[in-house]
């Protein structure tokens, strides 16, 4: 397992995701992108904290809100911008778009819950193949409405799949507050299927990272499933400009719980500023490169899906 990353490295990742997503939200109304997008602003500490502990070959399954996961996984910024712009250099050559990414051992799909059994299958496959790889599956609180998730918990538990279920509970699904969508206890749902679960209330990347480190170490040792419920915050709209919450409420969340602010305290201001300006430059460069990239050739679809 990788060594625990240092504070600067963690901050760099948090800030990279933030800048990427801010750039997306800024550029969208200007027509730079087509389609839709779901930004990760406010949840950065989850992806960064959890994925800090992946080994080469470990598998990640992500959802519609995947940019942060992809970047924390090590994905290329230009390729991600390019995918959102529908360019040939995009992660999936423009075929997938914002929610449908695959690169190395990273996969995302836009149908909530549908990834759960597939992620379990990948974990079981690696175990059968005798590899050490494990799978991390990110789900939102809203995805826990889907029945396939429970079928998958049951099977993961019965068949001892080496998978970490990570629920990012940002207390909202699109516009629906969790209280209107989830009865009972979120954590108890994992426990009921015999899956050990840890729940955290924090946007502090260091705390999330150390909890994830512990859970993943247990998972690698036992090669059985575990769950991590991360209570977190979404600062941005669901996709673009569709936030129905009171702006004052979000402002209050930001003031109190911004993962960047929380973690910035760990770094000298000068170091933080240096990281920020480096990242600003890198994100801007990636954006400019993607913008200059060519669109996919007109016959590209026929090449991957022969008629």
């Amino acid at each position: 397992m990788r060594a625990m990353p240092d504070h600067a490295a963690l901050y760099r990742q948090l800030y990279t995701i933030r800048r990427f997503e801010e750039t997306v939200l800024d550029a969208f109304p200007k027509g730079a992108f087509y389609g839709t997008t779901h930004t990760y602003i406010g949840q950065e500490a989850n992806a960064v904290g959890v994925l800090a502990h992946l080994n080469e070959g470990d598998i990640v399954f992500s959802n519609h809100r995947c940019h942060g996961h992809f970047i924390a996984y090590g994905g290329d910024l230009r390729a991600l911008f390019a995918e959102l712009m529908g360019k040939a250099t995009g992660v999936c050559g423009g075929l997938g778009g914002s929610q449908h990414l695959h690169w190395k051992d990273f996969y995302s799909n836009g149908v909530l819950g549908s990834t759960a059994p597939i992620a379990v299958g990948t974990a079981l496959a690696e175990k059968q193949k005798g590899s050490d790889a494990i799978t991390v599956l990110f789900l939102g609180d809203g995805a826990l409405g889907e029945g396939t998730v429970y079928e998958s918990l049951n099977i993961a538990s019965l068949w001892n799949a080496p998978i970490l279920f990570v629920v990012e509970n940002n207390h909202i699904a699109q516009t629906t507050p969790t209280e209107l969508a989830l009865a009972g206890s979120l954590a108890a749902r994992f426990a009921a299927f015999g899956i050990p679960v840890v729940e955290m209330d924090s946007n502090d990347v260091a705390k999330i990272s150390s909890a994830a480190q512990h859970e993943l170490a247990e998972l690698r040792a036992t090669r059985t499933p575990r769950a991590l419920v991360l209570n977190t915050t979404r600062f941005g709209p669901h996709s673009k400009g569709d936030d129905t919450r009171d702006p004052a409420y979000i402002e209050e969340l930001r003031t109190r719980l911004d993962p960047l602010t929380l973690h910035a305290a760990q770094l000298p201001a000068s170091e933080r500023q240096a990281i920020e300006s480096e990242v600003d430059t890198a994100v801007a460069a990636a954006y400019a490169q993607a913008e200059a990239d060519p669109p996919p050739p007109a016959n590209h679809l026929a090449k991957v899906a022969p008629p």
Partner: protein, 338 residues
């Protein structure tokens, strides 16, 4: 002019006002959001007891709606994207449409499931599909698709209040902002409307045009493209067509025959071109061509389909455009047929 979206929203409001048995279940329905595409706006404020915003549980909300319908209510279930109708397939096929007949006529399920379908918004492979072809051949299911030629909201209102069998109601996303056309907007066309049924079929031809050489048929948003193609074929290529636009896609007439308006047009033209946004094989167009072949035999001179590429719908604008049917595709196919 009223947009399709406004019309549908009015239709829902009218159904709620008229009948206390009408309920709406779906994701993110509450005002001010009013559903992802806003078709349900205003309902949760006016009828808070009868609008239930739900967890992300498509199969269960379809089933809950079915249970309510079984017990005499008139529920409407909104699926946020038609792509997720796959999650409802079992409820639809093995319960909702089975109950009336398998329970020997002693049960009815007056449930309307409405959902947006279609691409051209860049939403990518899992949020852009036109999947209704999967449901057109399910016995016991009425499938309706509004268009701009008649009042979509009225079609929806009557589907909710007057149909005792389950209804799958397809709304093309791109159709939402389009105006419902009035007489003036359609002034260039001679229009016939088939019988007084609540799901009308329109037959359009240009005023003063000679007898049609080709019959086009399309529904929903594709009828917009087909209408444009019809005009351009006449003016740019002197190829005269008739366009038949049904609102009821299923069930079709018994014994494998064509919808009568389509048969009437085909009897004149002898050539059939179907236009649909779903992928090519086993689609709506296949069924029309099959019925035409059976009914007309060698009098069917030519038959073709314009449809989406047999592939996932790409997110990139250029690739998406190439994958979906266009007016140009219709022009090309039509010119090759005559």
């Amino acid at each position: 002019m009223t947009s399709v979206l406004e019309s549908l929203n009015r239709g829902l409001h009218a159904a709620f006002a008229q009948d206390g048995r009408v309920y709406l279940i779906g994701e993110d329905l509450l005002d001010p959001y009013g559903g992802a595409f806003k078709v349900s706006r205003g309902l949760s404020s006016q009828y808070p007891q009868r609008v239930w915003t739900s967890p992300v549980s498509e199969a269960a909300i379809a089933g809950v709606g079915a249970g309510m319908a079984l017990r005499g209510l008139r529920p409407v279930v909104e699926l946020m994207f038609g792509d997720f109708s796959t999650l409802v397939a079992d409820q639809l096929i093995n319960s909702i449409t089975k109950f009336p007949a398998m329970f020997n006529g002693a049960a009815s399920v007056p449930l309307v499931i409405r959902t947006p379908m279609g691409g051209r918004r860049g939403y990518g492979p899992t949020h852009s599909q036109t999947l209704e072809k999967l449901y057109l051949g399910i016995p016991g299911l009425r499938v309706l698709a509004p268009n701009t030629l008649s009042d979509p909201g009225e079609l929806l209102r009557r589907a909710i209040l007057e149909q005792d069998d389950p209804v799958f109601f397809i709304e093309n996303k791109v159709l939402y902002p389009k105006p419902v056309l009035d007489a003036e907007a359609l002034a260039d066309f001679e229009i016939q409307i088939a019988d007084g049924d609540f799901a009308p079929t329109h037959t359009l031809r240009l005023k003063g045009a000679p007898a049609p050489q080709l019959t086009l048929t399309a529904y929903g948003y594709m009828a917009e493209l087909a209408r444009e193609a019809l005009t351009r074929l006449a003016f740019e290529h002197e190829l005269f067509c008739e366009l038949v636009v049904p609102t009821q896609l299923a069930p079709l007439p018994a014994a494998g025959s064509l919808e009568p308006s389509l048969a009437a047009s085909l009897a004149q033209s002898g050539r059939l071109l179907t236009i649909e946004e779903g992928t090519f094989s086993l689609g709506w167009g296949a069924e029309q061509l099959a019925r035409a072949a059976q009914q007309f035999g060698s009098r069917l001179l030519a038959a073709r389909r314009v449809a989406a590429a047999e592939a996932p719908i790409p997110a990139a604008r250029t690739l998406e455009e190439a994958a979906l049917p266009s007016v140009e595709d219709i022009l090309t196919a039509a010119r090759e047929m005559v």
